[in-house]
Structure formats: structure tokens, C-alpha cells
């Protein structure tokens, strides 16, 4: 019995000294950034950009590796870092919230330590350039008249930010989104192809997917989900300008495992806030049509709570006729 108590004491002391030294000498080993998707996607790109910038600017005194853990809409990668320590980070996005709300995952942002929101993309609502709908109002009125008269293209799945931003928009016009025909395509590219091919009347997708087509005069972007007009697309109004109270970022962030110490959180706050100030980061964002959306750990936590509330309202029920 005495031996067991002694052992517990030793373990306890060891645990104390471990966490203490962890705070002082962090990082003590290689840092791993998990991209919860296959190489080549947005998450992968974000992970590799963060890796490159932290290394190039000598911000972190340790090797940084990027690990791809695709599957389950991010679930596999996120599950992976849940049991790791503060050396293992993962890229996230709004899927962390919607996966849970739509019943595909048990994980929520509360199961992790949010470290930063890094950047965002915006959603665009686009119609063919020869469409009869010249403005958002035209389109919405048509939906109000007959929800099934215009087919909407989304991709790659229902419940993503593109889809949700549109659901929010039609609901503002008192249209039951349940009556709208959503055609689900495999990806952003297919959505645009369908739009150009006349298979759908309108698409909701990332701005980057339709920006070039808009500039080339093939499609018309009716509204954009940002707060202010976007550089290079000064002719495109925001939802807010069109009278709808919608700002819908498609954000990306980075998070760590649960129960990180305050020292560890402070460390990453410092490093990541320095990283987003570099010119290289500005360049990465410009190249990908991202926008600076940096929030530190505590701001991100608050932001995620707000977002969860917003998504909950959108997802849970039609909110109409009640």
C-alpha cells in the first residue's frame, strides 16, 4: 500500500515537473501540423504555408512537419491530435462546427484549443452573364414567386459554407429553402461548369471559383458575402449592400489538442501573430484570394462560439412558419 502511495507521489511530481518544464522550454521536440485532407486542397495549402513561413522566418526553434490525415471531412485528422500534446496542431475550418451540427461528428471546437483564425475566403452568388437576373433582388423575388423555378448548384456537399450562405440569403426573403432545388456537384469547378452549361440557374461557391469567369465576362456575381467590396471586384456589391444582413466568411484556422497550458497558448499566439505580419503571408493570401482574418486564441474561441450559434440557427430547422 505504502509503495503504491509513493508511486503515485512520484508520478504526480513527475507530472508537475513535466508540465512546468513544458512551459519554460517549449517546444521540446518536432512540431507537427496536421492537414486533415489530402495534399493539394485548401487545408493542405494552409498547413504548408504556415510551415514554410514559421520556418523561413525562424519563428519556431524546432523542425516543423506537415502530416496529411484525410477522411471524414476533417474528422480523422482532428481525432488524431486530440490525444497529442501542444507540439501537434491541426488546420480547421467551419466544417469543425457543421460536421457536428449535421450529425456526422461528435467533435466540437470545445474538444480542442483554438489557437488562431488565419484567413478567410468569401462566397459569391453567380448567374450566367446572360441571365435575366441582374441583381440579387431580382433573383430572390423569383425564388419567392416559385422556389423551384431556378435550380441552384452547390458543391462538393450540402451543408458547406457556400450552401449555408445561400440558405441564409433565401431565408431572409422568407423563402423555405426546403422547396429550393439544390443540385449537388462534385466540386467548385463542376458547379461553375454546370452554370456555364446552363444546367443550373445560379451557383453559390467560393469567390475564387468564379472571380476569373466574372472578370472574363462569362458569369455575373450578384453578391459577395464579405463585409466590404473585394479588391479587384469593385463592381460586385456585398450582401449587406443588397439589403441582407449577411457576412459569411469561409474561414480557416489552426488549433491544438485540448488542455494546453497558458504558456503554450501564449507561445503560439506570439508566433502566429508574428507570422501573419510577414510579407510572405500577405503574398500567400493574395495568391489564393484569401483575406486577412487573423484572430488570436481567445478571440478565436469567442468567434467559434458565435459561429456555432449562427450555424445552429441555420441548420436546425427551417425557421419558417413558426
Amino acid at each position: 500500500m505504502k509503495k503504491i502511495i509513493l508511486l503515485i507521489c512520484i508520478l504526480f511530481l513527475a507530472a508537475c515537473s513535466n508540465s512546468a518544464s513544458g512551459g519554460n522550454d517549449f517546444p521540446t521536440k518536432n512540431v507537427e501540423i496536421v492537414a486533415p485532407a489530402s495534399p493539394g486542397g485548401g487545408w493542405d495549402l494552409t498547413a504548408r504555408s504556415v510551415q514554410k513561413l514559421l520556418n523561413d522566418n525562424n519563428l519556431v526553434d524546432a523542425n516543423i512537419n506537415v502530416v496529411n490525415k484525410p477522411g471524414g471531412g476533417g474528422e480523422v485528422g482532428w481525432q488524431y491530435i486530440q490525444s497529442k500534446d501542444a507540439h501537434n496542431l491541426a488546420i480547421n475550418s467551419s466544417l469543425l462546427i457543421t460536421n457536428n451540427l449535421l450529425g456526422t461528428s461528435d467533435l466540437t471546437h470545445k474538444d480542442f484549443t483554438p489557437l488562431a483564425t488565419l484567413a478567410t475566403e468569401w462566397q459569391a452568388l453567380a448567374v450566367p452573364v446572360d441571365s435575366e437576373f441582374k441583381s440579387l433582388e431580382d433573383l430572390m423575388n423569383q425564388f419567392k414567386k416559385d422556389p423551384k423555378s431556378v435550380k441552384v448548384g452547390v458543391g462538393p456537399a450540402l451543408g458547406n459554407d457556400d450552401h449555408l450562405s445561400f440558405v441564409q440569403a433565401v431565408r431572409e426573403y422568407d423563402v423555405d429553402p426546403k422547396n429550393v432545388d439544390f443540385l449537388v456537384y462534385e466540386g467548385g469547378g463542376d458547379v461553375v461548369t454546370a452554370l456555364l452549361g446552363g444546367h443550373v440557374g445560379v451557383v453559390t461557391t467560393s469567390l475564387s471559383e468564379v472571380k476569373e469567369q466574372h472578370l472574363a465576362g462569362k458569369v455575373r456575381i450578384l453578391a459577395i458575402s464579405s463585409e466590404e467590396r473585394v479588391e479587384g471586384l469593385e463592381d460586385v456589391p456585398t450582401y449587406q449592400e443588397e439589403g441582407l444582413d449577411i457576412v459569411f466568411p469561409h474561414w480557416r484556422g489552426i488549433m491544438g489538442p485540448p488542455d494546453m497550458t497558458e504558456e503554450e497558448i501564449a507561445y503560439w499566439d506570439e508566433k502566429l501573430s508574428e507570422m501573419v505580419k510577414t510579407d510572405q503571408w500577405q503574398e500567400v493570401m493574395k495568391n489564393n484570394d484569401w483575406e486577412g482574418f487573423y484572430k488570436n486564441s481567445s478571440e478565436t474561441k469567442k468567434f467559434l462560439e458565435e459561429q456555432t450559434k449562427l450555424y445552429q440557427d441555420l441548420v436546425n430547422d427551417s425557421g419558417l412558419g413558426q
Binding site: L102, G103, T104, G153, A157, L158, G159, H163, V167, P177, K178, N179, D181, F182, L183, V184, Y185, D190, A194, H199, V315, N316, D317, S318
Partner: protein, 541 residues
């Protein structure tokens, strides 16, 4: 309140062993059964719900891809309703679901559940997420009897280049049915538990009986009382009692044994050789045979030992031994023999007087009065002579008494006991008790009587003086003396010329003389007889 509780507890302590055992078994079993049933119930409920959730969701997903259902949902083919109903009923059979419901974007298009469930579900829009966002999930809704578990999946229809959610399918379970299954399982467990409980009670009764058989039908409380009683008996006995076990460790020792064997620090289980140093004693105590009245020297005491081995089957499992202090027995024997001697002496005196009275009667009847008168005078003279010396010169009353007794015995035995006229004795100090003096003088004088009993004109002479530091007694006889070769053994026990069961006299005399710190000497010859001289110190050291 407290007192009442206390009373209850005290009464509780006196219940029979069987009640105790049964009470314990029943309460333990009931507790365990309740615990297990509860845990089982909770686990089973969780497991069943999880199982139902999984199968509801999986079934909903699977069904959503079936062409029949897809065609039905897209309204391509609604003539297939009977076929659909077949499938729906099959689902109900195979996974024990209550039924399924299919909705398209406009509302319910098919179901095989009761209308009450349909109306219950129509109040809320549970399929919204499936139809709107294409997600599959489970939902619990309602309460109590109406509690439902739904597995909902979107009906995705693949149109080649794109897919579209055309509706949703719900697989419905009624919680009351799941719970009913669990209640049946728990009831089965309880039935088995009751059998176990009955078995436990039976076992308890058997155990109690078996224990009572081993304890000769005595309750533990009675055994405890007997045990205490035994302890009290053993402690109150004057004999020393000691018990050892098969490992030669002392298991019991009473107070008398402790005193007799001078054991101060007794602890149960100490080995025999820690108490006794003599191998002889240990051998006696550990022998497999009984020992009767064995005399032992232990710490300067003479002890009489009896031992009885305890035999279980063919094996010795222990020994019980008892001890008596020999000195005490000896004192008792001595006291008895003195009493006997006193009464003998008194009887002798009575006999002597009646003899003399017969002589006088005879002389008077014959008319020889002169002779009678001279006989009386002669007797009076002898009496006066002896008593004069006894009462005038020997002032110690104890010695007076002894000598008067011996004079009577001499007169009866027809031997002559003469008190030397030179005898003189002041009262003896207090510490000279009657008992040792009686043993010394009585034995020596009686021995003298016996020595002269076959001699003509046999005479025993007694002399005492306390002039000087010592008191000197001298008993002389004119008998045949003692053989030289018997002299060395004269004072040993059991050496006597008077046959068996004799020979303790001189040995006792010697013991008593030595106890008083005196010496005894003997002078003997065939011609002049034997003289015993005892000298005792006046002042005890």
C-alpha cells in the same frame, strides 16, 4: 431513541447463528441482485438504444439507395406502392422497427406506421436536416409511452453530373418496445436470482446445521459461556494445571500452576523448554503415556505430577498435566497421623484406667482390702513421681502434654517410660510449634517402645535440658540396638524394620529437626540399646 436503538442492537446480538447466517446471506444476495439488475438494466438500455440508433440509421441509409424507394421518391414510379409496402414490412420484421416513413420535399408520401405516430411526427419537422443538408442522423422525441427513436437518412438521387436530395426516409422505433424487451430480460434475471437466493438460504441453513453439529448443538454464545466457565474453573482449582499442544507449546496454564512453577511472564504458546530446564520434566510431559503421581524436584520444591496425553485417533495432539505441591500433602498426612496417635494415646489411657479399676474391683470383691490399698498407693506414687517431674521441672506445656500422652501409652504397652529426674526445661520460644515437636518426640519415644517391647524390664528413658545454648532431648532405650549396616539408611524414607507402608517416622523426624535448625545423633549397641539425641537451638536464626 438512542436507547431504543441500543436495545434493538443488543437483542440483535442474541439471535441464533442460523438467523445471523441467513440474514447475512439474504441481505448480501439481495444487495448484489439489486445492484446487478440495476447495472444490467442501465447497460442493456444504453446498449439497446445504441443498437437501435445504429440499425435505424444504417437501415435508413441503405433503404435510401434502393431503386424502388428512389423511384418512388422522385415520383417516377408510384405504382410500386405494394412492392414498397412489402419492403417496409420486411424491415419492420427484420430489425424489429415499428415502421418506416418516406417524405419528399412536399411532405409524407409513404408510411407503414400507425396514424398516431404520423400525427405525432407531423408536429415537428425532424427530416429538415436530411432534406436540406443531406445529413443522416438519429433523433429521440416524445416522452414516456410516446417516446420515439428515429433514424433519418436523405434520399440522394444521382442524376449523373449532379446529385440531389429528393426526400428523406425515417426508420422508426418505439422506445416502449425496446424497454419492454429489457424488462423481460430483467424479469428473467430476477427469476434466476430468486432461485439463487433460495439456494443461498438452503446453503445457509445447512451451514448453520453443520456448524451446530460440530459444536454439539451449542450456539456460539453458549460456547463462549462454557469457555469462560472452563477458565474460571481452571483458575479456581488448587492443583496446578497445564496443557500443551502437539508442538509442545503451552496453551493453557492456571494460576496455581503459575505459582507452583514460579512462572511470572506467561504468554500463550510459549514453548515448553522456555519454562522447564530439566529434560526429565519435558520428557514426562511430552510422553505418549499417562503418568501417575511422579515426584519431581522443581526449584527446591517437591512436586507430584500427573499427566494425560490427548489422543486423537492414533496421534497425540497434546497433553494435560496437573501438579500438586508435595510439601502440602506431607503436612496433611502428618497432621492426620498425629491426630491418630493422640487418639491412640487417649484410648490407651482409658484402657489402662479401666484395667486398674478391674484389678481394684477384683481385690475388693475378694476382701483383700489391704492389697487394694497398697496397689492404690503404689499407683499414686508412680503417678506423682512422673507428674512431679513433668509439672515441676518441665515447664513447657506442649512437652508436658506429649509426655503425659506417652506415659499412658507406656503404661498400657507394659513398658516403662521414665522421665529423668535431672530433666529441666523452661517454656520453649513461640516458634517451636506443637506439630514439629510432636513429630520428633512422639516418633522417637514410639520407636523406643517398639525396641523394648520384646525385652524383659524394657525401659525407655526421656531426658530434656535447656542448659546452654541448645535444647537437648535424649530418648534412650535398653532394647537390642540397631544393626550397624542399617545405620546409613536409617533416616531414608521407606526404610523400616516394621514392614511395608512404614519407615516414614525417622525420615520425618530428621526433616523436622533440620527445619528447626537442629541436629540429631544416634548411639547404639547390642548390649546397652539405642540413644537418640536431638539438639535444637534456642534462638532461631
Amino acid at each position: 431513541m438512542l436507547r431504543k436503538l441500543k436495545e434493538t442492537i443488543e437483542q440483535g446480538l442474541h439471535v441464533s447463528m442460523q438467523t445471523k447466517i441467513l440474514g447475512l446471506i439474504i441481505s448480501l444476495l439481495v444487495f448484489i441482485i439489486a445492484l446487478i439488475s440495476t447495472i444490467f438494466g442501465i447497460m442493456e438500455l444504453r446498449e439497446e438504444i445504441e443498437k437501435a440508433e445504429n440499425s435505424a440509421e444504417q437501415t435508413a441509409k441503405t433503404l435510401s439507395y434502393m431503386p424502388v424507394i428512389q423511384d418512388y421518391a422522385t415520383a417516377i414510379e408510384r405504382d410500386t406502392k405494394p412492392k414498397l409496402k412489402g419492403i417496409a414490412d420486411q424491415v419492420r420484421e427484420e430489425i424489429n422497427a415499428t415502421g418506416i416513413m418516406i417524405e419528399d420535399r412536399n411532405g409524407l408520401i409513404f408510411h407503414n406506421v400507425s396514424t398516431s405516430i404520423v400525427s405525432q411526427l407531423s408536429k415537428s419537422d425532424e427530416t429538415y436536416q436530411a432534406i436540406m443538408f443531406g445529413s443522416a442522423y438519429t433523433k429521440m422525441l416524445g416522452e414516456g409511452e410516446e417516446e420515439l427513436l428515429l433514424g433519418i437518412a436523405p434520399i440522394y438521387v444521382d442524376y449523373g453530373s449532379y446529385i440531389k436530395v429528393e426526400g428523406a426516409i425515417s426508420v422508426i422505433f418505439q422506445m416502449k418496445e425496446i424497454k419492454a424487451d429489457i424488462i423481460t430480460d430483467i424479469r428473467n434475471i430476477l427469476i434466476i436470482s430468486l432461485i439463487v437466493l433460495a439456494g443461498g438460504c438452503f446453503g445457509g441453513v445447512m451451514l448453520a446445521r453443520s456448524i451446530r453439529k460440530d459444536t454439539f448443538g451449542l450456539e456460539p454464545a453458549e460456547i463462549a459461556a462454557l469457555y469462560k466457565e472452563r477458565g474460571a474453573i481452571l483458575q479456581s482449582v488448587k492443583e496446578g494445571i497445564l496443557a500443551i499442544d502437539s508442538n509442545d507449546q503451552i496453551t493453557m496454564l492456571n494460576m496455581s500452576a503459575k505459582q507452583m512453577l514460579s512462572i511470572d511472564l506467561y504468554k500463550k504458546g510459549i514453548p515448553l523448554d522456555a519454562v522447564f530446564s530439566s529434560n526429565n520434566v519435558i520428557e514426562l510431559l511430552t510422553s505418549a503415556h499417562e503418568n501417575h503421581d511422579v515426584e519431581l524436584e522443581f526449584n527446591g520444591k517437591t512436586i507430584i505430577l500427573n499427566s494425560q496425553p490427548i489422543i486423537d485417533g492414533n496421534k497425540k495432539v497434546g497433553t494435560v498435566a496437573s501438579f500438586r505441591d508435595k510439601t502440602e500433602i506431607k503436612d496433611m498426612v502428618n497432621t492426620l497421623s498425629e491426630v491418630k496417635r493422640y487418639s491412640d494415646d487417649l484410648r490407651a489411657q482409658t484402657h489402662e484406667f479401666s484395667n486398674k479399676l478391674y484389678v481394684l474391683l477384683g481385690l475388693i470383691e475378694l476382701g483383700r482390702l489391704d492389697e487394694a490399698i497398697s496397689f492404690i498407693k503404689q499407683e499414686v506414687e508412680i503417678q506423682e513421681f512422673n507428674t512431679d517431674i513433668i509439672f515441676n521441672q518441665i515447664e513447657d506445656e506442649k512437652i508436658q502434654a506429649i509426655l503425659l500422652g506417652k506415659l499412658a501409652k507406656a503404661s498400657e504397652s507394659r513398658v516403662s517410660l521414665t522421665i529423668d529426674t535431672n530433666s529441666s526445661l523452661s517454656p520453649l520460644p513461640e516458634y517451636y510449634g506443637l506439630h514439629p515437636l510432636l513429630i520428633i518426640l512422639s516418633n522417637l519415644i514410639d520407636n523406643g517402645f517398639e525396641a523394648v517391647s520384646h525385652v524383659n524390664n524394657g525401659e525407655v528413658t526421656f531426658f530434656v535440658t535447656d542448659i546452654g545454648k541448645d535444647i537437648i532431648f535424649e530418648v534412650a532405650d535398653n532394647g537390642g540396638g540397631i544393626d550397624q549396616d542399617k545405620l546409613p539408611m536409617l533416616f531414608q524414607k521407606g526404610v523400616s524394620e516394621k514392614g511395608k507402608q512404614r519407615g516414614y517416622g525417622l525420615s520425618n523426624v530428621k526433616d523436622e529437626v533440620e527445619q528447626l535448625g537442629g541436629t540429631i545423633e544416634i548411639e547404639t549397641s547390642v548390649d546397652s540399646g539405642t540413644v537418640f539425641t536431638v539438639s535444637l537451638p534456642k534462638n532461631q536464626k
